[in-house]
């Protein structure tokens, strides 16, 4: 229980608008979308400025009251919920910090408050004839602060980088109430440590981000979207290399999914059409080339490149979307895969990356190992091949009980994570660690890296009040 005196003090500090103990108001923020975690707390703070938040944190720090920051609550690793594992934590939501402060087309920059959603940032950029490139399925809800704190990725990383690369500066409130700020559209600034980068992947453990200055790009007014069928996953690397080469590196998207994944989508998701009626191929690639101008020569170049690869049997078949409608249809096949999996029963998920060059070898080696060890399970690896990032999800055997299969979660995670480590990969490519993978991080991250992380944590949050359940295990 959080002491009543602390609750009373924080409520009086922020006022009833921005601090509440009303469980009806708090409850919607305590569930995550997969119902995997349920949080609890007695107090919700919704500060509307860094100053207000600073007052609250200074008090919490002085009295050892732990807090958990939350943005859009779309995180997938149980990092944005208070009160997990019976901890007592105040929930601090950025929902009132929801203003776009400045869009500067000439600086190719946008400055926003932390609670603004990625969708709103994209739209503000678009109004100024600019692109904010971060793009992920949760963009309607996830926030600037949350995506920085998890260093979110999505489908455009191959060309524009992940959230860390898109963040030029932040304003954040540190544990002791200090308001740190390096908001600036400067592309070059070598005056010591690049502290804003420290917040990338911090998962709310180093400070609470209140504002951010983010990078914008020229818009992709024209996109060549292609759905490519391949017989051998090795070809994917050649296709990626050729496409990057002939398009002057304008490949914005390079996603992969297996036929088993496409089948699930066509079976469970309404109004989806088979891209190659009557034909099946082991793997499909969704690739997109973006350009700010309409460039028929670029289109021809891509067509020639791909058709040459058909001639030399690297590509089995392919489609190029002829309209935005067709483009959206093809995207739907890729984007509905997570949802389609849910309809099919339980799946054990891994968000992993290996060096791009190692992806085919990893899939060819590890998928059969799993299917052999967990008889009847089906590996459906899909995702951001261009970044070496696969959602290496394992579906339950169709005849097995869902819960019985999911009971293998941790054992299978450990198996996959060991193999990922053998391939010099990462056990969390884009979703983060949270409480879900804290044990695994401890087990597999080099001790020197963990030590450095802990030193930084101690320096910035000596009383361990900022999201104590995330990243590190308790012992």
């Amino acid at each position: 229980m959080i002491e009543k005196s602390h609750i009373d003090h924080l409520v009086s500090l922020l006022g009833p608008e921005c601090a509440t103990t009303d469980q009806d108001r708090i409850a919607p923020l305590l569930r995550e979308w997969r119902d995997k975690y349920f949080g609890h707390t007695q107090l919700l703070l919704t500060p509307n400025s860094a100053e207000q938040l600073s007052d609250a944190l200074r008090y919490c720090n002085a009295h050892g009251v732990a807090v958990v920051p939350q943005g859009g609550n779309t995180g997938l690793v149980g990092a944005g919920l208070p009160g997990l594992a019976n901890r007592d934590e105040v929930l601090i939501s950025t929902q009132r910090m929801n203003k776009v402060l400045d869009v500067c087309p000439n600086d190719y920059s946008i400055t926003v408050e932390a609670g603004v959603t990625i969708k709103e940032i994209q739209q503000s950029a678009e109004t100024a004839d600019r692109l904010f490139p971060l793009s992920l399925a949760s963009e309607g809800s996830c926030t600037a602060g949350g995506t920085i704190a998890t260093n979110a990725g999505g489908v455009h990383v191959i060309r524009y980088g992940s959230m860390q690369a898109l963040t030029m500066g932040v304003e954040a409130v540190l544990a002791d109430g200090t308001i740190y700020s390096d908001l600036s559209p400067l592309r070059k600034d070598n005056t010591g440590y690049k502290l804003s980068s420290l917040f990338a992947g911090s998962e709310g453990t180093l400070g609470i981000i209140t504002k951010a200055t983010l990078k914008l790009y020229p818009p992709e007014r024209h996109r060549i979207t292609t759905w490519i069928a391949i017989d051998d996953i090795n070809s994917a690397l050649n296709i990626l290399e050729k496409l990057r080469d002939v398009t002057a590196d304008r490949v914005s998207v390079f996603e992969i999914m297996p036929h088993s994944g496409l089948e699930l989508v066509l079976r469970h998701i309404p109004s989806t059409l088979p891209p190659f009626p009557g034909k099946e191929f082991p793997w499909y690639i969704l690739a997109e080339i973006g350009s700010s101008i309409h460039d028929p020569v670029l289109e021809e170049t891509v067509e020639d490149c791909l058709s040459n690869m058909i001639s030399n049997n690297q590509i089995a078949d392919g489609i190029i979307a002829q309209s935005e409608q067709q483009r959206l249809e093809l995207w739907k096949l890729r984007e509905s895969l997570s949802e389609a999996q849910k309809h099919e029963g339980g799946s054990i998920k891994h968000d992993i990356s290996v060096p791009v060059s190692q992806v085919p070898e990893f899939v060819k080696t590890v998928a059969p190992e799993i299917e052999q060890r967990w008889t009847g399970s089906r590996v459906i690896p899909f995702g951001h091949l261009g970044d070496g990032n696969l959602h290496f999800n394992v579906m339950q055997p169709s005849t097995m009980d869902k819960q019985a299969f999911l009971a293998n979660w941790e054992e299978m995670n450990r198996f996959v994570h060991d193999r990922v480590t053998d391939f010099s990969g990462s056990i969390s490519a884009e979703h983060g660690i949270g409480s879900m993978k804290a044990q695994e991080l401890k087990r597999l991250k080099p001790a020197s890296s963990l030590h450095a992380m802990q030193m930084i944590k101690k320096a910035l949050d000596p009383n361990n009040i900022l999201n104590p359940g995330a990243l590190f295990t308790r012992d």
């Binding site: 007014r221 024209h222 292609t226 759905w227 059409l273 891209p275 190659f276 009626p277 700010s292 101008i293 309409h294 028929p296 067509e303 791909l306 058709s307 058909i310 590509i315 078949d317 392919g318 489609i319 190029i320 979307a321 002829q322 309209s323 935005e324 409608q325 067709q326 959206l328």
Partner: protein, 248 residues
């Protein structure tokens, strides 16, 4: 049989169109253009008739700027056999289009002209009907089903309140509605084949047509923006607000 399919290059259906600052039209510079969706359905239907062995040749025609060649290529990549581009850079209206098409019909002698029921840029819904009148041919508009028989077509039409089936003696005009079919994707091999299919280039003058518009656009404006909604806290407040606005 031979089918002719006119296809129009229009602002892509999914693009948010913007009115030009001088209110003379909509912004087209650097905007994604695609084949009019109803025309795509017409091309697909023609290809299905060909696949069913009812049709031997499909000719796609576009009247528009040089870039409309790309729209024709899309039709050829879907499976049409050859193209005709009637190059015309300025604004053009349905009657002039219908007259040009009549000229092409005179040279090509198709059995069927399959058109979209309307183009999504000007939404006129006139060209097919005007062409039928100019040629004196039977017409089946807003088709949701087309069946070819010897010397005739059975066309199911989407009309207010239901469906109507008409039998047309050939030659005939058919215009397509949304539910007629799902157009196919253009596959890479077919896109490559399409590059080698012939496209003839013509002008309105070749058919003796004066394409000067007879209508003048006075002004183009954005529709009034929708007012933002409000959130109410309770049922009572909702009822109160509705009463206030005189809605209940």
């Amino acid at each position: 049989m031979k089918v002719m399919v006119p296809v129009k290059r229009v602002v892509d259906y999914n693009v948010k169109v913007r009115v030009k600052s001088d209110n003379t039209g909509v912004e087209l510079a650097n905007v994604k253009m695609s084949m009019n969706p109803f025309d795509e359905i017409a091309v697909e239907e023609a290809i299905r008739l060909k696949e069913a062995g009812k049709v031997e040749e499909i000719v796609v025609v576009s009247i528009g700027p040089k870039a409309a060649t790309e729209t024709i290529r899309t039709g050829l990549a879907m499976g049409a056999d050859r193209g005709i581009l009637v190059e015309h850079d300025d604004e053009i209206h349905p009657l002039a289009v219908a007259k040009i098409l009549k000229g092409i019909v005179g040279e090509e002698n198709p059995d069927i002209v399959l058109l979209g029921k309307q183009a999504i840029d000007d939404d006129c819904n006139q060209t097919g009907q005007m062409l039928a009148q100019l040629l004196g041919w039977a017409q089946g508009t807003f088709a949701s089903k087309v069946e070819a028989e010897d010397g005739s077509l059975n066309v199911t039409r989407e009309v207010d309140g239901g469906l109507e089936t008409v039998k047309l003696n050939l030659p005939a005009i058919v215009t397509t509605d949304l539910r007629l079919n799902e157009p196919r994707y253009a596959s890479l091999p077919n896109i490559m084949k399409a590059k080698r299919k012939p496209i003839d280039e013509k002008t309105a003058a070749d058919y003796g047509v004066d394409a000067t518009p007879r209508l003048k656009t006075l002004k183009v404006e954005e529709p009034a923006a929708r007012e933002a909604g409000i959130k109410v806290e309770s049922v009572d407040e909702l009822v109160g607000k509705l009463k206030e606005k005189g809605l209940i």
